[in-house]
């Protein structure tokens, strides 16, 4: 009984701790943006000198909207305009990067607002002079003070700070992702950057988030063909844009997922085995201990099948009660682990069914075998058993 309880509980706790860890790893990788594709304008070649990605103003906001609308695998496509400049607040100043964005940007980048509010529609369409600060910028301009409601100047244009961005930490290549200011894309285009981009609603980049479970390569192909069509690029001609994704990270994620799954499977099978051996012992001991009882029952008229039925019923009852207690203990245990060790645990219905089912099967099997042996004994042998 104890063997069944502990076996089942161990499996449930193991698997819930394991899948909690796996979910945490997946979450961490997700914040890096593995399902993110960055679309950049192509390069300009001027007198044999190629100016590099983004130098040619070939992408527009409308391209971004078309991608969002027409490619089913795309969850969000967020256009952004990038600029750099000196930011001044009172007596402090700081050189940073600013992006003109739409609210889709937050979704595409998995980036949320820690305090304050997001842009309002009027601010988006009317080039409102409002800004969201990254953590690094806020600290450098305001120290420990509250920046919300304060006025800052970006390239001499005054902005009201309406919110703070969640801390995002370093990027994969060690860049501080919190050293940034976000403003509505219309504001960046019309009030801060000005110039050529303003005339044809060009954008610096589009962040495209692909839905979970969609094939990245296939989605990338669909976006490419959509853009080639929109930009009227003939077959055989080069793209006038660039698509990038974090495929290396993606591979790393797949690898770690696979290792995690293997590890879980190994742990689970070991604990199931241990649980099974426990159950087996209990059943064998129970039948052996009670050989004399079996003999007595036979002496007063029990047939072989009566003995068999009795032990099967007992084994099933034992396995069921043990399994139930084990489930309770396992669920409680995984909550306790989650609470006390502050590990993330995830209860898994499959694990519960697997563990309880295994307990039942093992309980019946190892109850059945010795009981059948006992039921075939001559009564006198069972009675004399020491």
């Amino acid at each position: 009984m104890l063997g069944i309880i502990i076996g089942v509980a161990a499996v449930i706790v193991m698997i819930s701790v394991g899948s909690g860890a796996q979910a945490r790893v997946e979450d961490q990788i997700r914040t890096l943006g593995t399902n993110l594709i960055i679309l950049m304008p192509g390069s300009v070649t001027s007198g044999g000198v190629r100016m590099g990605a983004g130098s040619r103003p070939s992408l527009t906001e409308d391209d971004s909207y078309a991608i969002q609308r027409e490619v089913a695998a795309v969850q969000a496509a967020a256009p952004a305009l990038r600029g750099t400049g000196q930011v001044v607040a009172g007596t402090s100043n700081w050189a940073t990067v600013f992006y003109g964005v739409t609210p889709d940007y937050f979704e595409a980048r998995n980036w949320f607002i820690a305090a304050g509010r997001s842009f309002e529609p009027a601010e988006l369409s009317g080039a409102g002079k409002v800004a969201l600060l990254g953590e690094t910028v806020a600290r450098n301009l305001f120290g420990d003070g509250d920046p919300i409601g304060q006025v800052i100047r970006i390239r001499k244009v005054p902005f009201t700070v309406i919110g703070l961005l969640e801390r995002k930490g370093q990027s994969l290549i060690g860049q501080d992702q919190d050293d940034v200011i976000l403003m509505p894309i219309s504001t960046a285009r019309n009030r801060v950057l000005g110039g050529g981009t303003a005339r044809h609603r060009g954008v610096g980049s589009v962040s495209i988030k692909i839905r979970d479970g969609e094939d990245m390569t296939q989605a990338e192909e669909q976006i490419r063909s959509l853009l080639r069509q929109r930009h009227r690029i003939q077959a055989g001609q080069d793209d006038d844009f660039t698509l990038r994704n974090l495929s290396e990270v993606l591979q790393a994620q797949e690898q770690s997922s696979r290792i995690m799954t293997l590890l879980l499977a190994a742990i689970a099978s070991v604990s199931l085995l241990v649980g099974g051996i426990g159950i087996m012992n209990i059943m064998l001991v129970s039948v052996t201990e009670r050989t004399r009882e079996i003999g007595l029952r036979m002496a007063v008229g029990a047939r072989g099948r009566d003995i068999l039925a009795q032990f099967l019923v007992e084994a099933v009852t034992l396995a069921l009660i043990g399994g139930l207690l084990g489930i309770l203990l396992g669920v409680g245990g995984s909550y306790a682990v989650g609470h006390l060790a502050e590990w993330r645990t995830e209860l898994n219905a499959q694990a519960i069914v697997l563990a309880a089912g295994f307990a039942a099967v093992v309980g019946v099997f190892f109850g059945f075998y010795p009981a059948r042996k006992a039921s075939r004994l001559l009564p006198i042998e069972a009675l004399r058993y020491e």
């Binding site: 004399r292 036979m298 007063v300 008229g301 009564p379």
Partner: protein
């Protein structure tokens, strides 16, 4: 007609490298209503003979009839039915189920004869009352004295109205006083018409029987009828007088 008839019963135990012959052709008739004591040194085959009579074991050869029915040659389930309805057992070490109340122990044979639950309880309680343990029905064996446990065992042996009571050293674990009490109970049952076969190695226990059979080396050495068996109840009173 005899209740028990055995003809040339041979029982051989085959080990890996040798075999032991426990019974070498035993032929006996026991009439209904007899009180038989089977005696003999250990290894004489008396217990083996008892187990064969009780259908706990099968003879290697020979024939065994109980109440006219040929039992040698029957197998598993048929023998289980005979043990259930025809024979009541009383063992040296009582063989009661622990963690089970007295009345449930007595019910056990009825369980295997598919007796309805209520009738089972009624009959078990009636038998417990018969052995003087009506007020102990809810007790577990470990809460009862040795004599009381053996009386529970007798109630269990009687509950399915058998034709034969087999008692294998039933007083082996009891003191003299309780032994005499138990023998008194068996004598009472015998007077009421039940056939009793008892294995013992104690002469004064055997003296309560109306017939004493001696076994030696797998043979019947001696078979004598006792004209005037000792009366257990009378002996008990004497014992009490001595003690007083």
């Amino acid at each position: 007609m005899s209740l028990i008839v055995t003809r040339d019963i041979v029982k051989e135990y085959r080990m890996e490298s040798y075999s032991v012959t426990a019974l070498r052709g035993v032929s006996l008739d026991i009439a209904a209503g007899e009180f038989v004591a089977v005696m003999g040194p250990s290894g004489s085959g008396k217990s083996t003979f008892m187990n064969l009579l009780g259908c706990l074991d099968s003879p290697t050869s020979g024939e065994y009839f109980l109440a006219g029915e040929r039992l040698s040659g029957l197998e598993g389930d048929a023998l289980a039915a005979i043990r259930n309805r025809g024979i009541g057992f009383v063992f040296q070490n009582f063989n009661l189920l622990p963690r089970t109340t007295a009345v449930e122990n007595v019910e056990l044979p009825l369980l295997y004869s598919r007796c309805p639950k209520q009738e089972r309880r009624q009959r078990a309680l009636a038998r417990l009352a018969q052995v003087g343990l009506a007020d102990r029905a809810g007790h577990h064996p470990q809460q009862l004295s040795g004599g009381q446990q053996q009386r529970v065992a007798i109630a269990r042996a009687l509950v399915n109205n058998p034709v034969l009571i087999l008692a294998d050293e039933p007083t082996g674990a009891l003191d003299t006083h309780t032994s005499f009490e138990l023998m008194g109970a068996l004598q009472q049952l015998n007077r009421e018409g039940l056939t009793v076969v008892l294995v013992t190695h104690e002469r004064d226990i055997a003296s309560f029987a109306s017939r004493i059979i001696h076994f030696r080396d797998g043979h019947v050495l001696d078979d004598q009828r006792v004209a005037q068996p000792a009366d257990a109840h009378a002996m008990l009173r004497e014992l009490e007088k001595e003690a007083a």
